[in-house]
């Protein structure tokens, strides 16, 4: 890949360490346009070749175009982008990454990973710890929940890329002058009165299908009661604690006792729960950020202009929690081009690139500061409003055995919700999860 082209010499003539492209990029809109436009500019002879594998994301631009912008912005490193399947096929993406990383050949040098794989990859020794390379203050620059998810064994083993999380959608026209609910009790009473008055068929929709999304909802209910599934030590299982039991009991009560959710939520994942809401049949919905765009699209929604978004409610004494999603960067521990890989991830995770990902690909920044950029407010006004939601982002249990833990959680919590023996189901889950994380 070291084709020499006389017109490309410009890049290699630059002294190492200075990256004018990046500065221009930081400089503002004009510079950005130039950097992203000049894709073939700087391809020097002596550039370090690295590979970058990522799940497929796209908006107005693709990940490949951003990688090209990096290649054009400096003359020392050239990144080859390997596109993996989209995140909707995350089982396949996970398999592909595990297969490649397990070979320990150093390829791909840099990869992106779902937040729930970080501990697994770090625990296997496949991810390079990044704190020392990036400096001690690097953690403070990101949302605390994301940093927590990117940390394994006290070390930062992933660098944040973008964030998504659960949030509360509500119908502004159905609140009837009431304030947006901050506690679950408030939500129940508003939902009940909306149902009673016949203004909407359902009070509150969430996702109870025996699938990964059930664990996401579970994390939010439990954390908003001050509880947790797994203690920070990664070994102590708290799923049958009083706070967790209360939270799961509340999930069931929304169906059986308060009757603000139909029993159907037990077989619904994201889309089936989204449809009645954008169809104007529900007052509240718990879902991810993608729903907003659909809700504002007149072709797909009958509630355009009547939808608001807020942090999810909490239990008395707790605080709002939002299940953390999103993909983050990792550097392969067996990379042979450590410096180049770190330079690349630093650039990818920099404020300017995060802003670009936000405006061009619709991926929300993991740096709170980027939310204050005027350009974000201009092109993604909705995303900008999500800063308080993301501040409450809570990771799912951080353990290398997450893949096994989640299957137990899905099965036990689905059982608890279906038959109502919450204590028994969660005690069973505790025993099985303890056995998994102990080894």
């Amino acid at each position: 890949m070291s084709k020499i082209d006389s017109s490309n010499r410009a890049g290699s003539r630059l002294p190492a360490g200075s990256c004018p492209g990046r500065r221009a990029f930081l400089g503002g809109a004009l510079g950005t346009a130039a950097a992203f436009g000049a894709t073939r500019r700087a391809r020097g002879a002596s550039r370090t070749e690295i590979t970058f594998a990522s799940a497929k994301f796209f908006g107005k631009e693709t990940v490949a175009q951003v990688v090209e912008a990096y290649n054009a912005s400096q003359g020392r490193v050239h990144v080859t982008y390997v596109e993996l399947p989209p995140p909707s096929e995350s089982t396949e993406v996970h398999q592909l990454l595990v297969q490649q990383l397990a070979r320990q050949t150093g390829s791909p040098d840099v990869f992106t990973q779902d937040v729930i794989w970080i501990a697994e990859f770090a625990g296997a020794g496949w991810a390079l710890p990044l704190d020392q390379e990036l400096g001690a203050d690097v953690r403070k620059q990101y949302f605390p929940g994301v940093v927590q998810a990117c940390t394994w064994g006290g070390k930062l083993t992933a660098l944040p890329w973008f964030i998504d999380s659960g949030m509360l959608y509500y119908r502004t026209d159905l609140l009837g002058g009431a304030a947006v609910p901050e506690t679950w009790d408030e939500l129940v009473s508003i939902a009940q009165s909306v149902e009673k008055s016949g203004r909407a068929r359902f009070g509150f929709l969430w996702q109870g299908k025996q699938a990964e999304v059930l664990v996401c909802d579970l994390v939010e209910f439990i954390a908003s009661n001050g509880g947790a599934i797994l203690a920070p030590d990664g070994k102590t299982v708290l799923i049958d604690d009083e706070k967790s039991v209360q939270a799961v009991q509340f999930m069931r009560d929304t169906i059986t006792r308060y009757k603000i959710s139909p029993q159907d939520v037990l077989s619904w994942d994201e889309e089936p729960s989204r449809r009645p809401f954008t169809g104007g049949q529900a007052a509240f919905l718990r879902n991810w950020s993608y729903v907003y765009t659909i809700a504002q699209d007149p072709k797909a929604s009958s509630v355009v202009g009547k939808v608001g978004v807020a942090p999810l409610p909490h239990f008395p004494g707790g605080r709002s929690a939002a299940c953390l999603g999103g993909y983050q960067y990792g550097v392969n521990a067996s990379t042979k081009n450590r410096d180049a890989a770190i330079d690349f991830v630093s650039w990818m995770s920099s404020p300017a690139t995060q802003l670009h990902f936000a405006t061009e690909l619709g991926l929300a920044p993991t740096r709170p500061d980027v939310f204050d950029e005027p350009r974000l407010a201009e092109s993604q006004p909705f995303m900008q409003k999500l800063k308080p939601v993301f501040l409450g982002a809570t990771p799912r249990p951080v353990t290398p055995k997450y893949a096994q833990v989640t299957l137990v959680l899905q099965s036990s919590v689905s059982r608890a919700l279906a038959d109502g023996n919450v204590k028994q189901a969660l005690a069973g889950a505790k025993d099985r999860i303890s056995a998994i994380v102990a080894t």
Partner: protein
């Protein structure tokens, strides 16, 4: 392979001999000719099976890089794993009910379609559409039909006053597996009908004619002539169907993901989750070996019954 072997000076001509050791020396030619087949079959079917079996005696987990020989440990865990046994029961339940329903309905369809009527060719071709549809499409379709809120099935039942309120077909552990069975029967009964129709057509017309001359009615002809003649084919078709139903995956994966409360978790989905989500290759291989063993038992059971029914007919 027909060779002439001289034993005690007697010529046993025209008697085929498959002995590879003839007249005291090994003949390599047949072996050599078998070699390509043996290699290709061995590499694509025997090797993966044996490797899977070998893997099931290890604790191989890709993510933790464990890879130790653990003997029978995975099987001991399996014996006490409630998830495995509940999935095993669901799978057998699904297999038994769906195979039985598909055979009975398929037989009914075959009996109708083997008679001549106007437009028979068209109906025969149209009948195969459900079977030819990709299962994922069928799954989505049945997902909508049995939707708990806006599904057609609920609407029809409500309109006929058979139910008071909507039934949450996929959200309740009592109805989820049954609903999946209905979807499977809809999809596969036509295939059974096709196989059985082919079987019915092999029954000589002279037998049916003789039965008619002897004064047998339609019912008697079915029980005394057609069904006994059809029995071997019926059993073979049911065996294929049962072995296929035992591997049910796509309907469950799309419609319920194994839920609610594991009520639709079958062996294929459990194995898939263990192998490809959790990447526990050792335990996952033990699961699939257990699946394989159960399938072998089902095939053996059918095999015995089929052989008996063939013997009865003197074939």
């Amino acid at each position: 392979m027909s060779r002439t072997v001289a034993v005690d000076g007697v010529q046993h001509a025209a008697q085929p001999s498959f002995a590879l050791v003839g007249a005291g020396r090994i003949d390599f030619a047949p072996l050599l000719l078998l070699l390509p087949t043996a290699i290709s079959l061995g590499s694509v079917s025997l090797y993966p099976i044996l490797d899977g079996l070998w893997l099931s005696f290890h604790n191989t987990t890709l993510a933790t890089r464990e890879n130790r020989f653990v003997g029978w440990l995975n099987y001991r865990l399996l014996a006490t794993d409630p998830d495995f046994w509940s999935a095993w029961r669901h799978t057998l339940e699904f297999t038994a009910i769906s195979t039985l329903a598909e055979t009975v309905i398929g037989l009914g369809m075959a009996l109708l379609l083997v008679e001549w009527f106007a437009g028979r060719g068209f109906v025969r071709a149209a009948m195969l559409i459900p079977w030819a549809m990709p299962t994922v499409v069928t799954s989505k379709m049945f997902g909508w039909l049995f939707d708990g809120q806006n599904g057609l099935v609920n609407w029809v039942l409500r309109s006929l006053h058979l139910i008071g309120g909507n039934i949450d077909w996929y959200g309740s552990p009592n109805t989820a597996l049954g609903t999946i069975i209905v979807a499977d029967v809809w999809k596969t009964a036509p295939f059974m009908a096709l196989l059985l129709m082919a079987g019915l057509q092999t029954i000589p017309g002279s037998l049916l004619e003789a039965a008619r001359i002897d004064g047998a009615g339609a019912w008697q002809t079915f029980w005394r002539v057609r069904l006994p003649m059809l029995a071997p084919i019926l059993l073979i078709a049911a065996m294929f169907r049962a072995l296929d139903a035992f591997r049910i995956f796509d309907l469950v994966y799309v419609l319920t993901g194994g839920g609610p409360a594991d009520s639709t978790e079958v062996l294929s989905t459990l194995t898939y989750k263990t192998l490809f989500s959790a990447l526990e290759f050792g335990y996952g291989s033990a699961l699939s070996t257990a699946m394989f063993a159960t399938e072998a038992l089902i095939a053996l059971g059918f095999g015995i019954v089929i052989v008996r029914s063939m013997r009865r007919q003197g074939r």
